[in-house]
Symmetry: C2
Subunit: 386 residues, 2 copies
DNA sequence: ATAAATAATGTAATGGTTTTCATACACCAG
DNA sequence: CTGGTGTATGAAAACCATTACATTATTTAT
């Protein structure tokens, strides 16, 4: 298509000048007018020309034409949104097949103002604990015609902020959020979203959104109790970091309460703080053993630390579980592979994910939640380490 | 907003009838008219009501009004797509802030006919091997303003088919595909897509799309060579399943060639087929040992099988690596946790992901690839198991 | 001061779909 | 067979942003 710009170039003047000539709006030298008029003629420029699309996506319009019906009818067939004669339906589906038409979801979503997209914000998919959750989320989401946009944050506030903005721009229908910490900044971040949000794997009292979780306190209590029943008396505990006011703290509390309820003295020397890494479990138990205190069992607030502890214990020549039993928390896949296999609290990761998305879908539909804080069952899987 | 349909429902007639009443276009029974009029009154229906959006999304139009400029100018500010006076820019950004405006990405993408969305099809995110890749993909994608739609297939053809269709509908700009197998059906599936595709972790000769991978043959060769150099002479191999004509086969070939090049006899009794699971590694080595053949080393085609083998070996009272050394392939996280830690081929998972997305972005931009099959470096990480 | 260029901004078409309102046709009861 | 209605369909207005093209302001050069 010829544009004013083309004419301008041909005539060797600016587009503004061409415009002036066309509209007689301002004075123009006769020579200039001459040049411009010539260019217009040469190029056959025509103000009223209609532009035609370059891109050749097959659209609902093409289908409509092919089937000899209106776009509306095609839409009705596609969405089953109204009764359509059998014949018409046939024609339409055939046209769709013939043209290999696939409806543009973006256009649909723009019109419908829903995107069938769920944001999934996670600190680290590499970690199988989260991997299991993601899988639960994705499976069930897709069964409900939603897709998942995955965003890995590494737990960094700046990245989380960006992620949330991206999700806002994309107008996701909802968000499943998992963070490392839940401080005021995160809460501000989330509260600024106008789509529903569900938090997985956090204690309910920290945060003001629906959560899906297990009862960390009770699980730790039960595990400790189990150890006591098995005859262990001197049970060490490797906890989470000082700052962790959430799951880690709950687990610690469960441990202490179980001791108390069994009339066992809580001993500060038997408790150390870790940071959920393998190393910290290793060092944690080392701290205790180096004081020449030898517990008969160690309960770590997560599996990584338990495995780290096992390593040190074995290095010191103790045998597991004969000298020192070890128990963990989470049931990450590696617990099955270590020697001896680790007794641990089984978190239902896949179900956590599924329940999270179920809850989110309810919120999206505007349904009321019976319970804002869903607590799933855990299991204690006894293996050879105790 | 009240629509004709609402009135029709209230009055218990069809919309057509309501229309007739409204326009006096055709005859209508007095009673019907009565009913309809009543309904109209009750619902306060007003033909001329300007329909206003129910959804009250803040749009670029609002920003334009607020800032006293045209929508085009707002767009220019947002996208930095043309020069705008400092003052105008100020006004616009201020309006954006004030209204807390966030541009609707779907509308943008519809117009631009690109979605900044990448499909990521994967057999199992739960598996840390894939988890690492996903992370590499997502990180780099986001740095380039792309988002990732994650689709977990469990390797099932039916699900893969659905996934691909979803991605087509969503008009993703590209796809990163990982599958368990690559048969004709998958190839058909992929070839039916009109966006660029990159395959991660597959041998180039199987498939006709750009791939990112390591050299499985060479890696297995090097590992075998390393074992031989360490003095092992009787090296067993636990391979992939019979059907696996890809990575597993390459690894086997590398193993055999290394033997040959070192003038070691290849011995069928020292080779078993597994299926990449822990159990199959356990059984595999059992098969060999039960024949009273005792190798001095075992090389498994992946880590899971290696760990399974370790387990059986230890159970039989052999010590690792003194009696039998063990080596694996992949470097999944658990290799660091087993006792002794496993010597293995390190696949650069994160880089595989990153390179995959890099390649895909090139394709999306329409750039030529220097190399259609990118081969990344691997490492051999020697630990205590050899 | 005038004519032209350049910079800044506006207008309106466009992207592909859904959905509301409107209507042609077919059916049914009297 | 005809008046009254429902059913199947069509036309056109949304949805929100981008962008091609046009135009108005502001410089620059003569």
């Amino acid at each position: 298509m010829t544009t004013i710009a083309d004419v301008a170039e041909r005539a060797g003047v600016s587009t503004a000048t061409v415009s002036r000539v066309l509209n007689n709006s301002e004075k123009v030298t006769p020579q200039t007018k001459e040049k411009v008029d010539l260019a217009i003629e040469e190029l056959g420029y025509n103000l009223k020309q209609v532009k035609q699309s370059e891109k050749n996506e097959i659209t609902i319009r093409d289908v409509a034409t092919e089937a000899g019906v209106s776009e509306a009818t095609v839409s009705r067939v596609i969405n089953n949104s109204a009764r359509v004669t059998y014949q018409t339906k046939e024609k339409v589906t055939q046209a769709i097949d013939e043209l290999n038409y696939s409806p543009n979801a973006n256009a649909r979503h723009l019109r419908r103002s829903e995107t069938k997209l769920i944001g999934l914000v996670i600190p680290d998919i590499w970690n199988p604990f989260f991997g299991g959750i993601v899988r639960g989320v994705e499976d069930l989401a897709r069964n409900n015609d939603y897709n998942v946009v995955l965003l890995n944050t590494s737990g960094l506030l700046a990245r989380e902020r960006k992620c949330i903005n991206v999700l806002k721009d994309r107008r996701v229908d909802g968000l499943i959020y998992m963070g490392k910490t839940y401080d005021q900044q995160r809460i501000d971040l989330l509260s600024n979203c106008d789509f529903p949000i569900v938090i997985i794997s956090r204690e309910e009292n920290e945060i003001d959104y629906p959560t899906v979780n297990i009862d960390n306190y009770q699980a730790a209590y039960d595990m400790t109790n189990y150890l006591i029943e098995e005859g262990y008396q001197k049970i060490a505990f490797i906890g989470g970091p000082e700052e962790d006011k959430t799951a880690g703290l709950k687990r610690e509390k469960g441990y202490r309460q179980a001791l108390a309820d069994n009339e066992l003295q809580f001993d500060f020397d038997l408790m150390v703080k870790g940071d959920f890494t393998l190393q910290s479990g290793y060092q944690g138990i080392a701290e205790i053993l180096k004081q020449n205190i030898v517990p008969d069992a160690v309960f770590a607030a997560n599996d990584e630390m338990a495995v780290g502890a096992m390593k040190y214990i074995r290095e010191q020549g103790y045998s597991i579980p004969e000298d020192i039993a070890v128990a963990g928390f989470d049931n990450i896949s590696l617990v099955d592979y270590v020697e001896p296999r680790l007794t641990t609290v089984v978190q239902p990761v896949y179900e956590l994910g599924q329940t999270g998305i179920k809850t989110l879908l309810k919120l999206i539909k505007g349904e009321e939640l019976e319970d804002n804080n869903i607590v799933l069952d855990y299991d204690i899987e006894v293996r050879e380490s105790t």
